[in-house]
Structure formats: structure tokens, C-alpha cells
């Protein structure tokens, strides 16, 4: 049984800090996704856990062992690489069994484990092929097979689906989720694709600039983002933001308005607020609806009709552009004026430092 504990992990390349103090605890069997934009340090953090990068300072515990100086092979981990890293000169059988061969596993035992992994991943018919004779999805499967046979306590995935086409990616995503259910192992998964993060994770770790921005269940991150970065990064299409000022405060409710929004009253942590404060209002495109008495008015600049929903790009009086997702099909024309209501229960306010002002639940 292996969980992980990361304590104040730091990584610097020369003078450049890349990971700036990450604390994280992962329990056994959890599916944790590291997500963030390119260069945020998520892959570096994964490689530090794998033992492929040295830890500059801090502690890495896998199970009850301090693993800072432990060789990768002794950490009880297996890793699936973005490039799959399948040895081109070996057959699928040899690729999958490579780790077992190095560990001098008995031949019969090795054969059994390879065939078991092949059965789990439904690739028994591919065992005699070379990687060059496989499709992208099949290679992905072999790479996962190579990880499975080692029966690791922790699986590490470094953007494993990013080389696949969109349709295959959805299939493989579901297979990975199923694999996690079947194996029950701890999995740590790196991606920049927030849809993958939302669908796979028990727990998402949002990273930016080598710093953890927020850790939580996917839906918590969506509904209760800790700061502007998380609010903007999680959710697709992106959250709309507007500069607003505080008009009035009434207990736990604050009324804000801007040039574009006449007035919205929002539940928030109002302790540190006063009238006139400048805040940022975040509204998701799905939380706007057509309403003749709505508080937001804008001109349609672009329409995407998808049948079940309509994406509208809206030009506001201030010049800002908001994205609106309307349920159902709407035949809107460019330049048409649109009046929208904001679902005040679902909006989020952020203070001048970008931290969310969500009322405590």
C-alpha cells in the first residue's frame, strides 16, 4: 500500500528555481492529475517522483520510505512516457517483459505476467509485432503494459495521450479510468489538457510557475476556484472576467457593478471589503442566459451553432469580449443586441490580489 508525501519539494536548475516548494499528500489508490500550462513544472515534479530528476531540497516519501536518494528502479514506480519510449528493436513481448528480464524473473513467471498484462490490455494479438508495426493507440497500450507487468505501487503518466488523435484520446481516457478501477493502484498523471484532468482525477493539482495553485476534487476546482489562475485554467470554454467595483455590502452579500454590468448581488466573504473596492468578477459562459431583464447587454460578434448549444462571442460596451454558451439552438445574427442574465449564485469574486472571495460553505 503506497501513498505519497511531498514535503516542501524544491528543484532548481543552476540559479533558476523550477519547483518552488510543493507540499502534497496522495493516499493509496488515488488518481491524482497534475495540470497546468507549458513550463509550469508539472513534468519536472513527476520526474522528481520517478527519480529521473534530483530533488534540490525537501522530502519525497513513497509509502513509508524516504525516497530522495533511492534509485528509480527501487522506488516501486512505473512510468508511461509521452513518447511511449518503446524499444524499436524489440517485439511487443520483449518490450513488455524488459523490466522483468532485467530483474531476472523466472522465464515461466515472466511469460505469465506478460500474457496477463496483454490480456488486461487486449493486445494478445500484438505480442510478436515491433513497435513500428503498431498504431498510436496500440503503442500507448504497450507502454501501459510495460508499466503494469512490474506491478508498481505507483503509476506515473507523463502526458500519455497527447500524441493521439482526438477520438482515440477519448477512448484511451476511458480505458485508463477503467484500468485504475481494476488495479486500484495509485496513479499520478500529468497533462495540460484540463478535460483529461477533470474526467480522470480523484484529485487535481493545479500548478503554475512551479507553485501549487490549488489542490482539490475536479468539481470543487470548477465551482470554487481558489484564485484567478485556477478559475481561468479550469473549465472549457474559459471563464469570463470583468473589472467591477463594490456598490454596497449587506451582511454576506455584496453588490458589484461595472460599465458593462448594471448590478449583480453575490454571496461572498465580505469581511475585508468596503464600498468602492475594485474586484474581478468571474462568470462561466454556461452561467449566462437570455433574459429581457438581464443585467448584461452586448452585441453578437460571432456565433457557433452546435445544435445542442450555441456559442456566442459577445462584444460588451467597454470593448471586452465575453463568451456565452446558450442551451439549445439560437439563430442569432452578427451585430444583434443581446440581453443576458447572470446566474448570481454561480459567479465568483476575486480580490485585487486575484484570490477568490468565496463565502465559506
Amino acid at each position: 500500500m503506497a501513498g505519497l508525501e511531498l514535503k516542501a519539494l524544491h528543484k532548481t536548475y543552476g540559479q533558476v528555481p523550477v519547483i518552488k516548494g510543493v507540499d502534497l499528500s496522495v493516499s493509496h489508490g488515488e488518481f491524482v492529475v497534475f495540470v497546468g500550462p507549458s513550463g509550469c513544472g508539472k513534468s519536472t515534479l513527476l520526474r522528481m517522483i520517478a527519480g529521473l530528476e534530483d530533488i534540490t531540497s525537501g522530502e519525497l516519501w513513497i509509502g513509508d520510505r524516504l525516497c530522495n536518494a533511492v534509485e528509480p528502479r527501487d522506488r516501486g514506480i512505473a512510468m508511461v512516457f509521452q513518447s511511449y519510449a518503446l524499444y524499436p528493436h524489440m517485439t511487443v513481448y520483449d518490450n513488455v517483459g524488459f523490466g522483468l528480464k532485467l530483474a531476472r524473473t523466472d522465464k515461466a513467471e515472466r511469460d505469465r505476467k506478460i500474457r496477463d498484462a496483454a490480456r488486461i490490455l487486449q493486445m494478445e494479438h500484438l505480442l510478436d509485432r515491433k513497435p513500428s508495426q503498431l498504431s498510436g493507440g496500440q503503442r500507448q497500450r504497450v507502454a501501459i503494459g510495460r508499466a503494469i507487468v512490474r506491478q508498481p505501487e505507483v503509476f506515473l503518466f507523463d502526458e500519455p495521450l497527447s500524441n493521439l488523435d482526438a477520438a482515440l484520446r477519448v477512448d484511451m481516457r476511458m480505458e485508463l479510468a477503467k484500468l485504475h478501477q481494476d488495479l486500484g493502484s495509485t496513479m499520478i498523471y500529468v497533462t495540460h489538457d484540463q478535460v483529461e484532468a477533470m474526467t480522470l482525477a480523484d484529485k487535481i493539482v493545479v500548478l503554475n510557475g512551479g507553485v501549487v495553485q490549488q489542490v482539490g476534487a475536479p468539481i470543487d476546482l470548477y465551482q470554487r476556484p481558489a484564485n484567478l489562475f485556477v478559475a481561468g485554467f479550469i473549465g472549457s470554454p474559459k471563464m469570463n472576467f470583468a473589472e467591477v467595483s463594490v456598490q454596497s455590502i449587506n451582511g454576506g452579500m455584496v453588490t458589484v457593478a461595472s460599465k458593462d454590468i448594471s448590478a449583480v448581488t453575490v454571496a461572498a466573504d465580505t469581511k475585508s471589503l468596503k464600498v468602492g473596492d475594485r474586484l474581478t468578477l468571474g462568470v462561466r459562459p454556461h452561467h449566462l442566459s437570455m433574459d429581457a431583464s438581464g443585467t448584461l447587454v452586448g452585441g453578437v460578434s460571432l456565433v457557433e451553432r452546435l445544435g445542442n448549444e450555441t456559442n456566442v462571442s459577445l462584444r460588451l460596451p467597454s470593448g471586452a469580449t465575453w463568451l456565452v454558451v446558450l442551451d439549445g439552438d439560437h439563430n442569432l445574427r452578427p451585430a444583434q443586441a443581446l440581453q443576458l442574465a447572470i446566474d448570481a449564485e454561480k459567479v465568483v469574486l476575486f480580490d485585487a490580489a486575484g484570490q477568490s472571495l468565496l463565502a465559506a460553505m
Binding site: P72, M79, F81, S83, A85, P131, S132
Partner: protein, 294 residues
């Protein structure tokens, strides 16, 4: 089913056909013409000013040459020893020079430097160094209490000594080819192997060695052909001696040429050409056969 024409076939070439003419003319005049001319002259008694057709007589005489068999065997020994050592040493040096060692760039230059030096210069220098009594190599060995052999004067050793100098001079090129091959291997393979529990030695055996196979094929082919054709180093160091102990086909041919038997020596060149083809073509086919991966 409708036939789909491959786009490569229907697409017109990017450049007009006559673009290849300059290269074709140079290749024709400097390579094809001499090759076919030598095929013709090998069938003649040739005195540079006139030639008389004599059929296969030159070849018959060439094969009657008393030291030809010795020369043939020497040529093959020389090619096998020099190319074999270049492969092994080139690979080891390349592994060393792609690892994280101090002064890597400088050491790469040092290893490559002998390639740039004139072969005859190297031959003369090593002839001096390998002198049985006054050469630096044997003097150095003597200081360690070892009696050095007569490198170039011992008939059993002369050929191998020259082959070793050839390796010293040529291993830099083999190393450069191997370095290119090794740095092209994605780092992911090594990392995956490390996680799978591979030691550095196992990574070398299971990752580096198989994945730099194209470099190995290139090094073997180039150095083996070079070894079979070898002449300048042999001539500068031993002139085929002592006696005929280090004669190779090329030095036998040169001796015939010096004696004024131009037709005969041209026939010898044709034989050498055929020999290289007979040995190298199957060798490259064998080496390339298993390269069925990406």
C-alpha cells in the same frame, strides 16, 4: 475499386531535369569514363602511348604472380583487423565522449585530429616511432623493462603494426559517426530503462548497442572497404616488406605499375574492384537485413 495513383508518381519534380547535368558531367568524366577505360586497358598490353588487345592474358598473368595469394590474404587480414578495431574502439570512445566527462569538446577534437593528418606523414612518423632499437615506442617499453618487438621488421608483425597505425589514424572518423548515432538515440529510452531497473551496462547492451546499429553498419562498411583498398600507409611504412610479408593487393599492383606493366596493373585493379564487390556487397546485405525497425 478505383485505382489511386500515388501522389509521388504524378507530382512533377521540384527542379527541372537539366539541373542534374553538371553533377552528371563531372561524375561521367571523372568516374565512369576512367572506370570503363580501365576495364578496356586491362585487356590490353599498354605502354601509355599505344595499346594492343590481348584478351584475358593480363588476368592470367596476374593470378600467376607468386605472391598474389599472400597479398590477397594480407589484404583481407588487414581489412578485418583494422575495421574490427575501429568498430570496437570507435564505439567505446563515442560512449565515453557522449558521457558527462570534463573537457569533452577538447577530447573529441583530440580523437578526430589524426584523421586530418596526411597518411604518408603518419606513416613516416610511425616508422620512426616503431624503429626496433631507437624508436620511442620500444624505448618506452624498455624503461618498463619490456623488450619491444621489431614492429615493422618482424615478418609476422609488420602487417598488424601497419593495421594498428591505420586504426590510430582512422578511429576518429569511426568515433564521430558513432557519436552522431548515439546522440540521435532519444533520452526517453534510457530513462525508461532506468525505471525498469537497468544498470548502465545493461543500458549499453540493450539500448545503445542495438539503436546505434546504423552507425555500426556505416563504420564497418567504410572501414572495411578502406582496409581492402589500403595502399598509402603500407607503402609509406614497409613497401610491402620485409620481403613480401606485408604486401597487399594494392601494393602488388603498384609494384607492377612501377615496373611498367600498365595493362597488368590495371587488370589487378579490376580484380581488386571485383574482390571488394564480392566481399562488401554480401556484407552490407547481411548487416542491413535485420534493420527492419523504424
Amino acid at each position: 475499386m478505383a485505382r489511386v495513383q500515388s501522389p509521388a508518381r504524378s507530382r512533377p519534380s521540384t527542379y527541372p531535369g537539366w539541373f542534374f547535368l553538371p553533377a552528371a558531367i563531372i561524375y561521367g568524366v571523372l568516374f565512369l569514363l576512367p572506370t570503363f577505360a580501365s576495364l578496356y586497358f586491362s585487356l590490353t598490353r599498354w605502354t601509355l602511348f599505344n595499346s594492343t588487345f590481348i584478351g584475358l592474358d593480363n588476368f592470367a598473368q596476374f593470378f600467376r604472380e607468386p605472391f598474389l595469394i599472400k597479398g590477397l590474404i594480407n589484404t583481407v587480414i588487414y581489412a578485418v583487423v583494422s575495421s574490427g578495431l575501429k568498430v570496437v574502439l570507435g564505439l567505446l570512445l563515442a560512449v565515453l565522449l557522449t558521457s558527462q566527462i570534463a573537457a569533452r569538446g577538447y577530447l573529441r577534437s583530440v580523437v578526430f585530429f589524426p584523421v586530418l593528418v596526411s597518411t604518408v606523414g603518419v606513416g613516416i612518423t610511425f616508422t620512426v616511432l616503431m624503429h626496433p632499437t631507437q624508436g620511442m615506442i620500444n624505448e618506452g617499453l624498455a624503461m618498463l623493462g619490456i623488450k619491444g618487438p621489431g614492429w615493422l621488421v618482424d615478418p609476422n608483425l609488420a602487417l598488424i603494426s601497419v593495421a594498428l597505425v591505420d586504426v590510430w589514424k582512422g578511429v576518429g572518423l569511426a568515433t564521430v559517426i558513432y557519436i552522431a548515432g548515439i546522440v540521435a538515440i532519444p533520452q526517453d529510452y534510457y530513462e525508461a530503462a532506468r525505471i525498469d531497473g537497468s544498470t548502465p551496462w545493461q543500458s549499453f547492451i540493450y539500448v545503445t548497442l542495438p539503436l546505434c546499429r546504423p552507425a555500426t553498419v556505416t563504420v564497418i562498411t567504410l572501414s572495411f572497404i578502406g582496409g581492402l583498398r589500403t595502399f598509402d600507409l603500407i607503402w609509406a611504412m614497409t613497401r610491402g616488406g620485409p620481403g613480401f610479408a606485408s604486401d597487399t593487393i594494392a601494393s602488388v599492383i603498384y609494384k607492377q605499375y612501377q615496373a611498367g606493366f600498365y595493362g597488368l596493373s590495371t587488370a589487378g585493379n579490376v580484380v581488386l574492384f571485383v574482390l571488394i564487390g564480392v566481399l562488401v556487397v554480401p556484407l552490407t546485405m547481411l548487416l542491413n537485413r535485420k534493420e527492419g525497425h523504424e
